[in-house]
Each structure stands twice: as structure tokens, then as C-alpha cells.
């Protein structure tokens, strides 16, 4: 599914509203499921942070790949629409990245005893966050729209290289952070179904919210661009 159509007008369409509505309902359902999920054997109720920490981290990765796809599409086809969607993906992705870092810190304090440790997963995620802050800075610093889009696309492509490194860091350099809950390389699930299901509901809800937010942000950017052209 495309995050936004290339012939997208500057009007808020029914599909975007539908995706956002479903995402909001899903997030409310996910919240109640997380609050009624059984406690973890060793971490007790603090493990409920898992139900939002993992989905926000996944959204950060999804945003990175979306920005990569639309940046490559821009460099190949030179359509400003692709640049706008890449920028919207990064903006929404930055919120999820910040939330992944923050929820991780709030989980680390009661379980590890510290808010932050420069261990591989946390460090690579912090680098990823810094790269996308750089993306926003680059966009703000260049006035020429074509040069801005090309430079931003370069940053987005380079930034996405860090995603598989960050994902695999918990296996390549075993440290404080636990290994993946769902290992995409082997398909192995390392958590109990009762704890997994609320997380998956939140993951689906956050995915819908991510798509809806990127579409809405792109619509606003398209309106802004159209006004600047007049």
C-alpha cells in the first residue's frame, strides 16, 4: 500500500480519515488489553511497558524504510510528491523514535537500575534518532526545493543503513538489552501469547496511526506547496 497517492490533492480524503479512525479505536482497544494482560514472572506489572515500547520502536524502523523508499523514488522519478511523503515519514518517525527511546528509559530505570547505558541497542537507536534530526536540520537549512529534496534523500538513504544494524545489535553484541521478542531472522517468538497479543494489537493500531499521520502530514505539505506556487 502506498502511504499517499501521487495524484493526492490537498483535501483530506475518506481513506485517510478511515485509517486514522481505525488507528484511534485500535489504540484504545490495545490500551485496555495491555492493562488487563497478566504480569511477567520476573518483572511483574512493569513489563506492561513492553506493550507500547516494542510498537513504537517498530514504527521508528517502518518510518525509516518508508523514508528510504520515497527518497529513492524521488531520486529516480523527481516528483515533489515523493519528497513530501519522505519528509512526512521522517517527521512522524521522529515522534515514534523519541517515544521508543523514552519508554525504553522508563523501563530501564526500574529493571536495570539506570535510565541510560551506552550499550549497542541504545547507542545505535540514539544514532538513528540523531540522523533523522539531521534530516530535519538539512531540510530547514536549504532553500532551493530541488537541492533540499536531493540532500534530504541522501540523508534518508544513509540513515536507513543503521536500521538493520540497530535491529541485529542485540544479537551481534550481547549486552544489557534483551534479544528480539519476535525474531524476524528465524521467525521465533520469545514471549507468551497472553503478553504477545496486546502488543500485536497496539502494533496494528500504531501502524494505522503512522500511515494516517503520514498521509495527513503530506496533505498539509501539498497545500503549503500549492500556496507557495501561487
Amino acid at each position: 500500500m502506498q502511504l499517499a497517492r501521487s495524484d493526492q490533492t490537498s483535501r483530506l480524503d475518506g481513506l485517510t480519515l478511515g485509517i486514522l479512525g481505525l488507528g484511534v479505536v485500535g489504540a484504545v482497544v490495545g490500551f485496555f488489553m495491555a492493562m488487563t494482560a497478566p504480569p511477567d514472572q520476573s518483572q511483574g506489572f512493569v513489563a506492561r511497558i513492553f506493550h507500547v515500547h516494542v510498537p513504537t520502536a517498530w514504527m521508528a524502523y517502518v518510518a525509516s524504510f518508508a523514508a528510504l523508499g520515497y527518497s529513492v523514488a524521488y531520486l529516480v522519478r523527481r516528483k515533489s510528491h515523493h519528497d513530501r511523503v519522505a519528509a512526512a515519514s521522517v517527521e512522524v518517525g521522529l515522534i515514534f523514535m523519541a517515544l521508543a527511546l523514552l519508554t525504553g528509559m522508563l523501563w530501564a530505570r526500574p529493571t536495570w537500575g539506570v535510565y541510560w547505558d551506552w550499550e549497542p541497542r541504545l547507542t545505535t537507536t540514539a544514532i538513528l534518532f540523531a540522523i533523522y534530526v539531521g534530516y530535519v536540520v538539512v531540510r530547514g537549512a536549504i532553500e532551493d526545493p530541488e537541492l533540499r529534496a536531493k540532500a534530504a534523500a541522501g540523508v534518508a538513504i544513509l540513515g536507513s543503513i543503521n536500521v538493520p544494524i540497530s535491529y541485529m545489535s542485540v544479537r551481534w553484541w550481547r549486552s544489557l538489552h534483551q534479544t528480539q521478542s519476535i525474531d524476524l531472522t528465524t521467525g521465533r517468538i520469545n514471549v507468551d501469547t497472553a503478553i504477545l497479543i496486546p502488543m500485536l494489537v497496539n502494533l496494528a493500531a500504531f501502524t494505522l496511526l503512522f500511515i494516517g499521520l503520514v498521509r495527513l502530514r503530506s496533505i498539509i505539505a501539498a497545500r503549503q506547496a500549492a500556496r507557495e506556487e501561487v
Binding site: 506489572f45 511497558i49 522508563l106 496511526l209
Partner: protein, 40 residues
């Protein structure tokens, strides 16, 4: 385990986590809707 803070359902770390996540996501959605409406 009544004395273990990890087993407190209202543990402040859990409460803050959910408050920050939902406030940020819904707050950003509200901000975008406001921006859209303002420029209508």
C-alpha cells in the same frame, strides 16, 4: 509480592510511559488536524 514495586499495577514508570505515548501520538494528531483546519 505486595512489597515489590515491580508488582505495583500503578507503578509510576508504567503510568508515565502510557501517559507520554498516548499524549504524544494523539497530541500530534490533534496538532495536524488543527493545522489542516487553520489553513482551510
Amino acid at each position: 509480592m505486595p512489597d515489590n514495586p515491580l508488582w505495583n499495577p500503578a507503578n509510576p514508570f508504567v503510568v508515565w510511559t502510557y501517559a507520554v505515548v498516548y499524549a504524544s501520538v494523539f497530541g500530534y494528531l490533534g496538532y495536524l488536524i488543527w493545522r489542516y483546519q487553520r489553513n482551510k
